[in-house]
Amino acid sequence: MSHSIYFDNAATSGWKPPAVIRAVTKNLRRPANPGRSGHSRALEAAGILYDTRETLGRFFNFPRTENIIFTKNATEALNIAIYGNLARHGGHVVTSSMEHNSVLRPLHHLQALGRIEVAIVRAGSDGMVTAESLRPALRPDTRLVVVTAASNVTGGVTDLPSIHALTAAAGIPLLVDAAQAGGAVPLDLTEVPCDMMAITGHKHLLGPQGTGALFVRHPEQLDHVLCGGTGSASEQTIQPDFAPDKFEAGTPNTPGLAGLSAGVGYLETVGFATRRAVETSLTRHLLAGLRPLEEVTVLAPDVPRLAVVSFNVRGLQPSAVATVLDREWGICCRPGLHCAPEAHRTLGTFPAGAVRFALSARNTPEEIDIALSAIKECIRRFRH
């Protein structure tokens, strides 16, 4: 089947702008190691990294671009934020049951090592995490609060301003996991001046896989987790103590970061609001078709949301539904736990999980209609 309907944009965006592909290939045709030599091509490569930081800083309204740390994905960014804050001094950490394993696993690891104590606040049955639900978990010795900006399971967008108001009043650093929200919903780091935010480049920012970043408000308070060459202070065998070099040991993914800059540039050119409006319309279309189906349970709260809709068909395993949708209709979606086991426990869908449709502005109402017909056909077959 040559044509496919791609509904797995929460895993990675299924379409990249031509400018992204051009930027990556241009760099691959003329490679150099940024900041490792003083020649003209090394300077060009260093310029790519600089410009990508500027692009991200502009997009997320974060002027101190030297404090944007490049990583290979949101997972690495979250690990730097979590280990860099907690591994040395330990402490109490508050997070939510809607978090991805990229948050839960490093926290669990540090807890198993006896370094930290973790409180996982259970979200409401709609999967929403609120300041009111987090407040009772905060303690005088709480050293970090970690929340997702938007759930990769329900698509619900977290009310970050109220959570930041809570943590700021308590003097506790806030780490935001914006893997899903970055590029999908407005995120302004001046309006929500959280201490750290992790993004990935390959989802809604439309860049290549292998790119991501950590935005750090106070890099001097964060330990690095990797040591190595930075092209700076090379006479010293200790890691530089200034950002971004402190956190960026080793050769970076220059072609990928060139592509990421082009992806964000595309969002700026096409218009972020335009894409968001299309995705909202498609999501409404999908929900309007799914909700009347008696056999379908939709895990989608009526709140500000991403173009992510998870659901289950009564009597059918999510993996079976996804397999049929793929093989017979060419619909690519993701079943299972979505690396968020506590989220599915919260929603009552553990251990089988759910079927997730993650749309993008490149999808069409016709594709939604095909998917709805396909789901109805699955239901019809099961009845017989």
């Binding site: 900041g35 490792r36 003083g38 260093a46 600089y50 092209g231 950002a243």
Partner: protein
Amino acid sequence: MCLYAIITFRTTHFALKAKRVLERQQVTGFELTAVPREFSSECGFCLKAPWTERDGILRLLEEHGVVYSRIHCLDRRGREDGITFV
């Protein structure tokens, strides 16, 4: 006698930021180049500009939050004639 100012940076990020800031301000006569071997390695790139332009350049860098490390003076033979530690 100083002919050129060599401005060094801890990190390549600020070296590139200096270049972009000066370009946007339409400053000419400077170049971002490899740090001369006899100087501190710093980040590998330095800004080389006419000594007479240094005050204006440094003012622009400071206005735009560019953190620089040192200012070296190069004489007409290209030798160092003094270092200003910042």
